[in-house]
């Protein structure tokens, strides 16, 4: 089944400042969309606002999944509708084990620990890390691989990845990118990846690239866009030049 995630005219305020100023993007299941942009362009704000982070205030616009408005739903309901955010810096939850998190999130408990190990294997994460408390005492790379384990178990319709490649070494980046690429065919997962770097795109072929500056999408195109960015940086896309 094909699902559609549609973001229209999204405006979001953080700490009293409007950061997203009318953001538009439409994508379907199985597609990989990549959002690139300089620091402060609103990339991370998009990820947090989509998943209902309490520090982000939506001023206007709409986000729908197969026609259902998400912005009026709680963070829980958005996740249950099929949205999963993988964070740049996943939070430590002391005393909570990953398996208990997943059961509470609605994962089928049957054979769950073994399935978690299988998922850990796919991203080259030591399985015993999954017996520790959620993200506690994990390295940056382990945390992001652990987020991929959650993704593999929860199988969201759309995965939003907030700079999941920052702080990752080449091996970890490759493992995460391959896992995401596999997810697009395994359950037709749509991937919305926010990144600074082209490296991610070497393993995860984008359907579409969106360049964001100053809270808006200023250019959309195929993989060739990333080559322009590589050569000229974001300067050609700044509002003053457009």
């Amino acid at each position: 089944m094909t699902s559609t995630l549609r973001i229209e005219g999204l405006r979001v305020e953080v700490a009293g400042k409007e950061v997203l100023k009318g953001f538009d993007l439409t994508m379907k299941s199985g597609e990989v969309h990549v959002i690139m942009g300089p620091n402060g362009s609103g990339k991370s704000t998009l990820a947090h606002a989509l998943s209902g982070h309490p520090g982000y205030k939506v001023l206007g616009g709409s986000v729908t999944l197969d026609g259902m408005e998400l912005l009026t739903l709680s963070a829980t309901e958005r996740a249950r509708a099929g949205l999963l955010l993988a964070l740049q810096q996943p939070m430590e939850i002391p005393g909570v084990r990953p398996i208990d998190l997943l059961v509470a999130a609605g994962a089928d408990p049957t054979d769950l620990r073994r399935r978690m190990s299988d998922e850990a294997y796919k991203v080259e994460l030591r399985s015993d890390v999954l017996d520790r408390f959620v993200n506690v005492d994990l390295s940056g790379g382990e945390r992001k691989r652990a987020e991929m384990v959650q993704l593999g178990i929860l199988r969201p319709k759309f995965a939003i990845l907030d700079e999941i490649d920052s702080g990752l070494d080449v091996d970890a980046l490759g493992a995460v990118a391959r896992r995401l690429a596999a997810a697009t065919s395994e359950w037709n997962c749509g991937v919305l990846a926010i990144t600074h770097f082209r490296r991610l795109l070497q393993e995860l072929t984008p359907t579409m690239i969106h360049v964001v500056t100053d809270g808006k999408v200023v250019a959309t195109g195929g993989p060739e866009l990333s080559e322009i960015l590589e050569r000229d940086g974001y300067e050609p896309f700044r509002p003053a030049h457009s």
């Binding site: 829980t76 958005r78 996740a79 999963l84 002391p94 005393g95 999130a105 929860l154």
Partner: protein
């Protein structure tokens, strides 16, 4: 206090060490019960404490283990049963471990027990009325592989237990102390843990007494050179649950890690007190106290870090977090420092408030409902306390905590 006093005097007269007990009893009578005008008893509902409800237990009864206690025992290498302070005779053995019952109230800290505890009415009462001291010793150089479980059952209306754990040089052991029973009872455990040079004690005390019990516990860790004490105290039961957990770092290189936690519900009062006393240099203490109060329960945490002049390069840290789960619950946090040496690292932090909003959001963003997210986080407090336990024991206690939390009512303040 006639009924209680009569039963106390009659119990004392039957014991072999009646003279010493009479001295303790006289000392108790002279000082009397504390009052809430004593700063350290300020938060205790002492006006509800009617000693006439209690009767001194004169002979051991046969305790019936709860299902949970039975499971705990099945995962241990040695089970020690203490019923109302009486050590239950047992043929069970574990290599390198010796368990016995000793008459007489002594202290492992040197001097007489009465002098040491004279300002603490309940400890003095314990000296007069505990049937004996249960002594568990680990021989030098023995690394006890399997955990030891000490089951304390409170079956009568009063239950005074006294315990000494002594670890010989370079030995190590894991001990789980579990308290159950205590309906309508006064439960007063007094414990000392002496850890020899380079020895390591991993200790979890899990208190699951009836919610009508008065529980007044005091423990002291005595750490010699390079000794390590990892102690976790979990308080669930009791109408009034007082837990005083002290450590004295007597010689260089000692390390004390203390974690305490509690869950308050109904009209419970949880009263946690700690005192980390650094008497020697290059000693380290890490204290983490976390608790949650729901319904109309109250809690107080009072912690003192004391560093002796000359205890150079001491590292002492104290953290206290209290969660409010209801607008009618209340938590107080009183950290104190008494530092008489300059060359030290010392830090303390405390907070009282609701659950961390961002952690909760992270869980919700996985599709977890708010109620389940909060329950998981609170449960996490307790699970964190169990990290020193072998995994199968930790899981057992976690499951028990989880079932206790299932009935908890969380209301955002």
């Amino acid at each position: 206090m006639k009924i209680f006093a009569d039963s106390a005097l009659s119990f004392i007269s039957e014991r072999p060490d009646a003279l010493a007990r009479e001295a303790a009893w006289s000392s108790f009578l002279a000082s009397g019960l504390p009052t809430t005008s004593d700063e350290v008893w300020r938060y205790a509902p002492l006006s509800e404490l009617d000693m006439e409800r209690f009767d001194v237990t004169r002979a051991p009864s046969k305790a019936v283990d709860s299902d949970f206690a039975a499971q705990l025992c099945s995962k241990s290498g040695l089970v020690v049963r203490v019923v109302d302070g009486f050590l239950e005779p047992s043929e069970a053995t574990l290599d390198g471990v010796r368990v016995r019952s000793l008459d007489g109230a002594t202290t492992l800290a040197g001097g007489t027990a009465l002098e040491r505890y004279e300002n603490d009415s309940f400890a003095v009462l314990n000296m007069a009325l505990a049937p004996a001291t249960t002594v568990l010793e680990v021989a030098d150089d023995v690394d006890v592989q399997q955990p030891v479980v000490i089951l304390y059952s409170a079956t009568g209306t009063s239950s005074f237990s006294r315990t000494h754990l002594r670890l010989g040089r370079s030995s190590s052991v894991t001990v789980v102390e579990y308290f159950e029973g205590g309906a309508g009872a006064l439960v007063v455990p007094l414990s000392e843990y002496e850890i020899g040079d380079n020895a390591a004690l991993r200790l979890v005390t899990y208190q699951r007494l009836d919610s009508s019990a008065w529980h007044v516990a005091r423990t002291t860790g005595l750490l010699h050179r390079d000794a390590r004490l990892s102690q976790a105290v979990i308080g669930m039961g009791g109408h009034y649950n007082r837990s005083r957990n002290d450590a004295e770092l007597l010689d260089v290189g000692g390390e004390n890690e203390l974690r305490t936690t509690f869950l308050g519900s109904g009209h419970q009062v949880h009263d946690f007190r700690t005192h980390q006393f650094h008497k020697a240099g290059r000693t380290r203490s890490t204290l983490l106290s976390k608790g949650a109060v729901a319904d109309e329960s109250r809690s107080v945490y009072t912690g003192l870090i004391e560093i002796e002049k000359g205890a150079k390069r001491t590292d002492a840290r104290q953290t206290n977090h209290n969660l409010l789960l209801s607008p009618h619950a209340h938590a107080d946090s009183v950290p104190n420092l008494d530092i008489r040496e300059n060359d030290v690292m010392c830090a303390h932090a405390s907070s009282v408030g609701p659950l961390d909003e961002l952690q909760r959001w992270y869980l919700e963003s996985r599709g977890i409902t708010r109620a389940d997210a909060e329950r998981l986080m609170i449960q996490g407090f307790f699970n964190e306390m169990l990290t020193t336990l072998p995994i199968e024991l930790a899981e057992l206690v976690e499951r028990d905590v989880t079932s206790a939390l299932a009935s908890l009512n969380v209301v955002a303040p």
